[in-house]
Symmetry: D2
Subunit: 145 residues, 4 copies
């Protein structure tokens, strides 16, 4: 399963190079994750309220073409891997001309909100665990096809 | 009492106009506040740890000349007014050529961290209350001179 | 004429207070302006391409209630005043519960892109001038009713 | 050659997790680059004025421990590789307790400001080319030791 999120590029997101500042693509990835999790039935806001956080542990990003103010960017997001304690998301971004702007992945560890210690999702939230497993399996299948 | 903070303008703070994006001056005001409070002996980090927050309730800002990447900006900060529950800070920013870039004020209400309800500093932290009173009185004196 | 823009609050826009960082409301105002100008037939992107910039010269902002991650915020934007060289926009923001979060105004001066000197819109772009005049007059009428 | 940059963590850089939002570490990398280039005698501001840009093409980042508001973070930056058209910088960040927070690398392509096409530094700015070559060689030597 993949989610498509639509981003209207903000003036605040540009820098004096006349294009979007590179760190802002990571914010767009976060929007993709929020939308994907909502669609999977695991709203991140609720996950935090239930006492779990998912801080980023690794980022890999390729910048292929610049986005500009006024552009409409589509962020495609999917679960690339899931181990019970770690989730890896994949991302691909395109502009309106179907030009690829960005591809990347982010790795997250699931931790307890108060202790910041890794926590197994399976134990605390078995349903969410199953959803992540299925989402990761789905992506693997799509890659095989 | 006034505090001077020094800011090296970041590339990330510019926009495609080739100058600093206007919202970032508010971040520099926050740096000025942090430095002033530290100097007054009321580090904001500690204030939060003790259960008080100081969210912004009002901003007034005049932008006089643009700051650019590579500039060194000086932020002058002072306590303009204090009522026991509200604190007003004043700001003035200059570049290396002593050109005034920005002047403004921010109003903050002191609230309890968990309830977000206004809280009188006098009751909870009488020493901090006294420091704010003196700082506000000092600014008033300077204005009279 | 008023425009309504819809904002999905981003995780990146929050701070450790657990609510949206105050400077980010100015970014939302900019989204409101972008949408209003597009609706008026003066897309800001095109205005810049034609050699005009509209940097912010003054901000006044009242923060009434905090926005949170996951909230949907509506930004209402209108032209409050127009003098030929200066444009003032007004803003009001609400959350889904129709609670007012923010009200404010931003003043902009129209300048030449290369010289950064004030430029009369009437001379360079008479049609845009007329549109602004009508938009400002419309807001004035609404205030009188 | 390595440069050390000192960062005072800003309140604006935190998110509701209570720690620094992950995209902001990329901004700190940019501060490290700015400082390193200045020390190498290739101020990035001047490079842009001379008609060259160095947009980011790839980011790799490992987040090891969170930075918090009030922390002082040291960013160590060096030239990891240089090919004449591409520059790779390496980064390592520590807090005051000498705990490693972040390590990463960023790849940049040198392009012409107007065409956004790759440009060989050697031809346009032979001196800067030589400095980059020496800096990259120096890092390689240090790795061998």
């Amino acid at each position: 399963m993949k989610t498509n999120s639509t981003i209207q590029v903000r003036y605040a997101e540009t820098d004096q190079m006349g294009v979007v500042y590179h760190a802002n693509y990571l914010v767009w990835c976060e929007i993709g994750r929020t939308d994907l999790m909502k669609q999977l039935g695991i709203p991140y806001r609720e996950m935090e309220e239930q006492g779990m956080l998912a801080p980023v542990t690794n980022i890999q990003a390729d910048y292929r073409a610049p986005a500009r103010y006024g552009d409409t960017v589509t962020v495609e997001t999917w679960v690339e891997d899931y181990t019970g304690v770690r989730v890896v998301y994949g991302y691909s971004m395109q502009n309106e001309a179907a030009e690829e702007l960005f591809s990347g992945r982010s790795e997250h560890v699931l931790v307890n909100k108060t202790s910041f210690r890794p926590a197994a999702l399976k134990k605390a939230f078995p349903e969410w665990h199953r959803v992540y497993e299925m989402a990761a399996a789905g992506s693997a299948d799509e890659r095989m096809i």
